[in-house]
Structures are given as C-alpha cells and as structure tokens.
Symmetry: C2
Subunit: 187 residues, 2 copies
C-alpha cells in the first residue's frame, strides 16, 4: 500500500476504474470530464499507465485491430481498486492553496496603467463569462441523469465559482479603477 504515489497516478487509476480504456482514449476522456479542474497531458497519461502496470495496480492487454493500430487496453486490478479506495478515503486532504495568476496581477494593479488594468478586468470577465456559459450548458445536459450526479456536482461547482467571479468583477471594477485616479478633475 504505497500511499505515496503522486496525485496524478490516483487520478489515472480512477479514470481507468470507470471503464477499461487505452491511453489515447483516457486522455480524451480526462479532458472532457475532469478537465475543468485537473490537467493531464497525453505524455503524462502514458507514463503513469506504465508505472501503474509495473506496480500491479493495472493490467494491460494488447488488442489487435483491423483498421487501426494495435492498442493497449488497461483495466484496474484488485490491488488497484484497493489503492484507489484508500486514497479516496484518506482524510488527510491538506490545504492545497492553488495559485491564481490573475489575482497576482490584480495585487500588483497599482503598477499598471488604468487602461491596462481595465483591459485585464475586461478580458477576465469575458473569459469567465464564456466559462460560465459552458458550464451552465453542461449542468443543463447532465441534470436529470441520475447516473451523472457526481459529475454534475463538479460542473455546478465550477458554475457557482464562475458566477461569483463575475459578481466580484462588477463589485470591484469601480473601486479599482477609481482608486488609480490621481487627477482630481477625473474623480
């Protein structure tokens, strides 16, 4: 029971546990499903699959195909399922404060020109609005499907965060742009 595997290994293990897949397929599935809150490159997928096999947490079988190249089909083993379960049950989920580069820029906002600061807020708002609309559509699509409850919940989380971000932009824009104004005639 190595509790010391990197997070990505457990994530890959979890994705394989949904259904047996190939590296190619898993990378695409990851992007579609957990892509909003966990990034995973194809390269990394392949190396993690390899490691998990060597550890006996996954089994692999080569499958010949007529029209496509031979593929390697991975499936979870008993040990793998156990390792996944114990990771999921591990209460030691620590802080994991995550970096937010947008906020870093806002923090240093007094070093930007007002025009540039406004552009920063505008582009953030635009990107966030797009994200919100995308997630709203996803929630719409998944709602009502009882088998997609957990997936829907993660989309709802993203939706709530995006909406809160947009509300925040509306709230702070006047404060931030007003704060920069050194010219009394403008204020």
């Amino acid at each position: 029971m190595p509790g010391t595997l990197p997070v990505t290994a457990y994530v890959v293990l979890g994705l394989v546990s949904v259904r047996p897949t190939t590296g190619h397929d898993l990378a695409a599935f990851a992007e579609r499903s957990i892509g909003q809150f966990f990034s995973l490159t194809r390269s990394h997928v392949y190396s993690e699959l390899d490691r998990l096999c060597r550890l006996g947490l996954l089994d692999v079988t080569e499958v010949q195909q007529e029209r496509f190249p031979t593929k390697r089909l991975y499936e979870i083993t008993g040990d793998g399922a156990e390792a996944l379960a114990s990771w999921l049950d591990d209460s030691a989920l620590r802080g994991e404060r995550q970096r937010n580069l947008f906020l870093v820029r806002v923090f240093f906002g007094d070093r930007m020109s007002p025009a540039r600061l406004e552009a920063l807020l505008d582009s953030y708002e635009q990107a966030t609005r797009a994200r919100r609309d995308l997630l709203a559509a996803t929630v719409e699509r998944l709602s009502g499907r009882p088998q997609s409850t957990f997936r829907a919940a993660t989309a709802m989380f993203g939706l709530a965060q995006a909406q809160a971000s947009l509300d925040w932009v509306d709230q702070v824009r006047p404060l931030l742009l007003g704060a920069r104004c050194a010219d009394p005639d403008q204020c």
Copy 2:
C-alpha cells in the same frame, strides 16, 4: 527582456518592488499578502533572489547588524522594473486551469461509502467556513484604507469564492447523499 522567466521570478520581483527587503522578510510578507493564492517556499525565495541578481533585475547590498546576523538587502533595478511592467502588461495570460483535488474526490464520489462522502463534504465545509471568516475579517480590516484597495480586492475575491463554495455544498449535499441510496427503504 526575457519574457521567459518562471512566474515565481516575476512574483518575487513584484514583492521586492513594494519595498527593499531581505529573503527572510520577503518570505514572511509573501505568506501574509499573496499567500492565499500563491505559494512560495523560503528555499525558493532565496534561489529566485539569487537568479534575479545575476540577471541584473535586482541589486543586493550586505547590511551588518549589531544584534542579528548580516542580512542581504535586495532592491529592484531599472531593468527589473521594466521586466515587471512588461510581464504585468502581457496580455497572454492563458487559461491556467488549476487543479482542485477536492473536486476530483467528488467526481469519484460513487466509489466512496455514503458515510465517507458525507465526512468529505463536512470537512470541506468546515475548512471553507474558516477560510471565509478569515477573509471576511481581512476585508473588514482593509476596507477604508485607500492604499490597500488592490489587496482588499484579492481578499474580496477569496471571500466571494468561499461563500459560493458554501452555498454549493448546501445545494448539492442532498443530491449527492441521496444519489448513493440504492436501498428503496432508505430513499
């Protein structure tokens, strides 16, 4: 003008630009100020300060002290200020989708026992509530200080996110815990 320095270098540069500091002091200041959305270890601070010096973006002077060890005081150079400004103005702020391990666990929630899932939500709610209260106090403290507008804005962002997270927990808890119930007598 290397636009290719790691993000951490620019963050350190930005923090030094606030006022000349030592590595020790800067690490503490980083924790206090941007710690909520950017992590920075002491080790890393020292190595980045060193690099920025070698690149001519910072100047260092050794200062002897009576009661304390000699310290190295760093301050930003003209080139450094220029590099910082051009990084802040760089519109190519890309997606930077950040990992959220809590959401990963929720995504795999159907692999947990209902009791464990509930415990996960409870501990998340508790941690988030603590975070919200902390940030609310910070916002309270910074509000009204005109020189702290940008810093207050970042705290308000965290506060808005935390509140949205709490609302989300209330919203999805019944869905997630109800979804697991396979026993008709329990539902």
